[in-house]
């Protein structure tokens, strides 16, 4: 179950200490082994983190593995992702047909539960529970099918899930906790996108803090502090949490680099190293 050779800095960072993110075969000594990780991507209005999701989606569907992706898209219709990933060299429609990608398009009308009159009585609670039921079933089927295929669950994005849940962040948190439990039960990974600036003015515990607590890897997408530039579109900070450094102590490892978004992918480089 070899991963594709690391093609850029982001992959190297994720591969370096986080083999378990994308394959169950390696034992990284985290959480008793076998458990997948949770990656949290944070972005803001000025710089969208969507490109990280696209990158991770492509990575999870790399032709070298037979991994399965369960994709919950709240932000855009499937066709949008399909078009983008096609430019990056990954055909989502084909992957979906070959059952490697299970897409839940949450923008479809029947998903929003407005048109169908049978759904009218349903609360957002019921809808989220039903959705989780579907996700769990999908994960179970995938993991039982062909032995130890690795499963990645991607959610784009959590703040819209909150809107669907009518503002009840507890419901969303419950949902994410259930999904996180899947990571230990079936060893699947969880990749979640959320917006940083929505929560920055909130006092007390909020959804984002809870997510940061749950996550093993936090990736933060920000604009450059110095303003806009033509060859650097922003910076990406990757925090690997709870790494054991041999002597039994755990520490965080932080990587910081800049990126430039292109049509067919993203260029990553260390600050100042762009020619």
């Amino acid at each position: 179950m070899a991963n594709a050779p690391p093609s850029n800095l982001l992959d190297e960072v994720l591969d370096g200490k986080g083999d378990a993110v994308f394959s169950t075969s390696s034992d990284d000594g985290y959480g008793g082994g076998g458990g997948g990780r949770m990656i949290l991507v944070e972005d803001c209005v000025e710089t969208s983190g969507a490109f990280v999701v696209h990158h991770l989606l492509k990575r999870s569907l790399s032709p070298h593995s037979s991994d399965v992706v369960v994709f919950l898209s709240f932000a855009h219709p499937f066709s949008h992702y399909d078009r983008i990933l096609r430019k990056m060299g990954c055909n989502l429609s084909v992957q979906r047909d070959s059952k490697r990608l299970l897409s839940f398009d949450m923008l479809r009308v029947e998903r929003l539960g407005e048109d169908s009159h049978s759904d009218r009585g349903k609360t957002s609670d019921d809808r989220l529970m039903a959705l989780y039921g579907e996700v769990q079933k999908a994960v179970e089927v995938c993991s039982s099918n062909e032995g130890r295929r690795h499963i990645t669950l991607i959610i784009d994005d959590v703040s819209l899930m909150e809107v669907d849940a009518n503002g009840s962040s507890n419901l969303v948190l419950d949902f994410l906790h259930y999904c996180a439990s899947l990571t230990s039960q079936f060893g699947c990974s969880l990749i979640v996108l959320n917006h940083d600036d929505v929560y920055s003015t909130m006092d007390g515990p909020n959804l984002l803090l809870q997510l940061e607590y749950l996550a093993d890897v936090v990736m933060k997408v920000e604009p450059l502090a110095t303003g806009l530039a033509t060859d650097v579109h922003g910076q990406l900070t990757v925090t690997n949490k709870g790494l054991e450094d041999g002597s039994g102590k755990s520490r965080n490892k932080v990587h910081n680099f800049h990126f430039r978004i292109k049509d067919s992918g993203v260029e990553y480089f260390y600050p100042g190293s762009k020619a």
Binding site: V45, E46, T47, S48, A50, F51, H54, H76, P77, S79, H80, R83, I84, K87, L107, R108, V109, L112, E114, S159, L160, V163, D164, N166, G167, H195, D197, V198, Y199, S200, T201, M202, G227, L228, A229, T230, H233, G234, I261, K262, D263, S264, V266
Partner: protein, 354 residues
Amino acid sequence: MQLFLFVFPFYCSSSEDIHQLKYMAANRPRGGSFSRNLSASSTGVSHIPGLKHGPNGTMFLSSGIPDLDKILGGGFALGSLVMVMEDPEAPHHMLLLRNFMSQGLVHHQPLIYASPAKDPKGFLGTLPNPMASKDDKSRVHETEQEKGLRIAWQYKKYFGEQNSEQRDGKSEYCSDFDLRKPLERHFFSGQHIDCVSLRYSADLATFRERCSSFLSQVPRNIGNITGGRIAIQSLCSPQCEYSNEEWEMLSFVRSLKSLLRLSNAVAIITFPPSLVSTTFSKRMQHLADTLVSVKAIPDEDKELAKLLTGYQDMVGLLSVHKVARINTQPLLAVELYASSGSCSVSSKTGPTFS
């Protein structure tokens, strides 16, 4: 009076940068290396007035302001949601709405307009009229003069052709509007125009239904695209009963967005960020495909006057924060954002068109 946009870079200082930025904005519709050759593939759709092909299989309709269209890379993409952040003290967002709505009526596109006012129909009376184009006038002069000119008579046909080509190209997609003249009656006749007052509705459910049925009437098949327009003024205005229910409004915007994606329409929503919580405002901004804000310029600000040429004629600043990225990576928007950090709306008294 006419709306002018002056592009000026926010972070750059030298004039060299300005040229570069203008150049970038002008070259926008070119798209990435993967975009289809449109001249080859455009079959019949290309000559629908009011619509234009964009990169990545998108189509644009005009905002009604030629310069804004240019900055946005062609206009508003069909299926996108445009948010305008209002200035709390100046009604400049109304200028954007007016031009947007007028342009739609000129192109015979169906329109739905919602506002917290008691009588939203009254707003239609304030829509600007497209300006008689300069070319028209100069042509009239030419023909008059040409009677006396014998030598150049054989070149007349070339002049004529050129002029009409230019003129058609302009009036087809985006018109210049004269803010002093109300839109002529004949543009309203036989049009699908729906005006909704949001003041007395306790929730947005009925309006959502209305938008949904409106969007289902806008034709979706390729050969028959017209492009509908939805304009919602001051969504979170405190006059409305639902204005304290933030989640209700967010879920309305979200479902509107999902409806739009499947249709050939553009919705423009203005909202006052100063009247809502920061969290709510940020959520709205994230929901937007294209995000624009308007801000008034204070009178007699000496420092600003030094910074801006034509300060006397300007009434406000318009900033483009986000540009719709349908079917593409954020590439366009980031570059575009860099290129058009800010621009100013100036309401300038043009040459007299009496």
